[in-house]
Amino acid sequence: MKVTDDRGKGVLDRILKWLDDRIGIYGHTIRPAPKYAYRLDYWLGSFVLASFILEVVTGALLALYYVPADPYKSTVYLIQQVPFGALLFSVHSWGAYAMVFFLLVHMTRNFVVGAYRKPREIMWIVGAALAGLTLTEAFIGYSLPYNLISWTATTTGLNLFTYMPFGLSVLISQFTIVPTLPGLTQDVALVDRFFVFHWIVGGLIMLFVALHLYIFEKHGITPPLTKEEAPELLDEYGERLERDPDWKLQPLMRTFGIILMTFLMAIGGVVLLASLVPFDIGVQGGQLTYLKPEYNAALAAQTPPIPDWYFLFVYFFYKSVNPVDASWIFLGWTAVTVLFPFIDQYVFRHKAPHPVMRPAAIALGTGFIVSFIVNSVWAYETPGRDIGPIGVEVDAVIFAVSFLTLFPLLKFVLQPRALKGYEPIVGGGVKVRKLNFMPGMSQFRIMNRVLQLSFLGLLSAVVYLTLQSTLVLIFHFPSWQLYSGALIGTDMLAAGTLIGLLVFFGGDRR
C-alpha cells in the first residue's frame, strides 16, 4: 500500500519510516490521516483516551495509600497527610467524570455522523462495551472512599441486579457475595473485592481500548459525510487521496501533534478544574478536610443515596416502575445501544451516512438523548421520592414525539431538499471545495501577525508557567498542592493551545 510515500518530512516521520522499513507499522498500526480530518470532532476519542491514561496514572498513585481494610480512614489520611494526596484524589475523581463525559460526547458524535455503519459495526460494539466497562469502573470506584452516600448508593445499586433476568443476578452475586472469613466483617471484605475489581475492570478497559484502536487503524478515519451510498473506507478512494487537496494525507507529525494537543487539553482541563473545585475536599486556613462523613448504617437509613450523575437515568427507572420492569427497560436500552449498527442496517435500512439520509436513526437517537437528560434532571430533583409510572410515560412520549416530528421532517422535507442539486461523487473523482472567503494580501498579513503574536504569547506563558510549577513542586507545602495543580493545569492548557496553533495553522498551507 502506498499511503506513506514522500511524507517523511518531520523527524518523527523519519523515525517511523525507519521503523516501518524494519517491522512494518504503516497501514495497520499507525496510518496518516487526510487533511479534512484535522477538525476537533474527528479526535474526540483521543480526549477519552487521555482521561483514561490520566485515571490509570493517578489511580496507581492513589492505590499506594489506599487500604481496603480501612477504606474511609485511609482516604482521609491520603487527603490530609500525603503530599499531593488531595490533588491526586481530586484529579482522579474529576478525571472519572471527564472520561464518562468525553465518552458520551464521542459516542453521540459518532452516532450523529453514522460512523457505526458497515464495516464499523464491531468497532461500535467494542466501543459500547468500553462504555459499559467505563460505567462499571466508575460505579465501583464510587464505592471505594466508603463515605455515607457512596457506599449506600453502591450497595443499593448492586441490589438492583437481583431483579435481572437471564441469570444475571446469579452472575453478579457470584462476583460480589464474599465468603465470611473469621475476624473480618462482610462489609470491609466487599470493599476489598471492589478494589480488586477496580483494577480488573481497568485492565479490561485497556484491553478493549487496544482492540478499538486496532480496528480504528485498520479502517482509518471515516470519509466525510455523503448523501448517497459510497465506500466507507479511505483505502477505496485511492485516486482521490492523491488528487483532492482536501484529502491529502498529512505527515504523521501532524497526527501526533493533534493527539498531543488533545491530551494536553483534556488532562490540563481536568487538573485545572480539580484544583479550582476540589472534589469533596474543603480548604480552611491551609487545612484540607474530606467533606463526606463515613458510612454508618443508622445514618444511611436517613440519607437518600444518590448515584453519580451518569447513573441518574437508571435510578430514574427504578423510581418510576417496579424493579422487574425497570430491569427490562435498562437491559432494553443497553441492547438497542449495543446492536444499533444492525438495527440501522436491517431494520431501518439506511443507505448513506448523512443525518438527513438516516431519519429513523436520528429520531431514535434524539429520543435517547432527550430522555437521558430529562430522566437525569428529574431523578436528581427528587432524591428519595418516588416518581411513579408517569416517568416512563413521559419517556415514551419523548420517543413518540421525536419520531413523529423528526422522521417526517427529515424524510419528506430535508432529504429531498438536500438531494436536489446534490452532485454525487463519482468513485475516486475530484471535487474541489470552493473557498467562500479568500483573504486579500493585507488581511492575510494581519492574520499572520495575529497568529505569530498569539504563538509567542502562548510560548512565553508556557515557559513561565512551567518554571513556576516546577518551583512550586520543588518547594512543596501541603496547602500549596491545589495552587500548583492550578498552575500545571493552566500550563498544559496553554501548551495544548500552542500545539493546536501549530497543527491547525502551521506547516504549508497549499
Partner: protein, 237 residues
C-alpha cells in the same frame, strides 16, 4: 434425554431464586448460619424460631417513641415493633394479612395487634424494593418525607420513595416496591408482658438474591450491611 438435562441446567438459575422466595432453605438456616438467634429451634414455625424480642414495658417506657427495634431471625436483620396506641392512639389493631395463603407460612388470615391495648405490631426494617434500611425511627410531619408519618402510618423509604401503609399491614401505597412490607407475627404473654416473634408472614428483601447452596443462605442480601439501631432511637424528620 440430553434435551431434558440441558433444559434443566439452562433453567436452573431461574428456578433457584423462586425456591428461595418460597422459603425453601429456611429450615436449613439454623444449622448453616451462625447468625441464627436460636440454635435448637424445635417449636418454630417452618424454621423460624420463637424468640423473645422485648417486654411490653421496654416499648412503653420509651417516652414519645412508638418504635422499638430488634433483630429477627438473624442477628443482622433489623425489625421493629410499632405501638399504634403511642403512635396515633389506635387500639385493637387488626389488619388483613397481605401474604395470606402465599409462601410456606399458612394461616394468619388476620393479623392482630398484641399487648395490653392490642396495638403492637412488628415489621421488617428493610425495604423489599432494593434492600435499603427503613428509617422507622424518624417521625415525619408529611408522608412525602423519608421516615414514618404518625397520622397516616406511612413508612417512606429514603432510596426510591416506596411508601408502606403500616396500619393496613404494610401494603404499598406509592413507589416502586413490588410487594408489601413483611410483618413479623407476634405472640404475647399476658402474665409477664413478654413479646415473642414467631414468624414473618413473607420473605424479607430476598426475592432473587441468588443462593446456590443452603450454606449461602442468609435471608438478606449479605452484601448489604444492616445494623439494628439502639433503642430508643426516635427523632423528628
Amino acid at each position: 434425554m440430553t434435551l431434558a438435562v440441558g433444559g434443566a441446567i439452562a433453567i436452573a438459575p431461574l428456578v433457584t431464586p423462586v425456591l428461595d422466595y418460597a422459603g425453601y432453605y429456611y429450615t436449613s438456616l439454623k444449622s448453616s448460619s451462625t447468625k441464627y438467634l436460636v440454635a435448637n429451634n424445635s417449636s418454630g414455625l417452618l424454621g423460624y424460631p420463637k424468640y423473645r424480642v422485648a417486654n411490653v414495658k421496654d416499648i412503653q417506657n420509651q417516652s414519645n417513641c412508638p418504635v422499638y427495634f430488634f433483630a429477627y431471625p438473624l442477628t443482622d436483620e433489623p425489625c421493629f415493633l410499632i405501638d399504634f396506641n403511642a403512635l396515633n392512639g389506635q387500639k385493637n389493631v387488626s389488619f388483613q394479612n397481605p401474604y395470606y395463603d402465599k409462601f410456606r407460612i399458612q394461616g394468619f388470615q388476620q393479623i392482630q395487634g398484641v399487648g395490653p391495648n392490642k396495638s403492637i405490631c412488628a415489621f421488617s426494617a428493610v425495604c423489599v424494593h432494593l434492600g435499603c434500611q427503613l428509617p422507622a425511627q424518624v417521625l415525619t410531619s408529611s408522608p412525602n418525607n423519608p421516615g414514618l408519618n404518625p397520622q397516616t402510618t406511612i413508612l417512606h423509604c429514603p432510596c426510591h420513595g416506596s411508601e408502606y401503609s403500616l396500619i393496613e399491614g404494610g401494603v404499598v401505597k406509592a413507589g416502586p416496591a413490588p410487594r408489601p412490607l413483611p410483618a413479623i407475627l407476634l405472640e404475647y404473654d399476658e402474665t409477664t408482658g413478654d413479646i415473642y416473634a414467631v414468624a414473618a408472614n413473607g420473605p424479607y428483601f430476598s426475592e432473587a438474591v441468588p443462593r446456590t447452596t443452603p450454606q449461602d443462605n442468609l435471608l438478606y442480601d449479605p452484601r448489604y450491611s444492616y445494623s439494628v439501631p439502639n433503642n430508643p432511637s426516635c427523632s423528628q424528620g
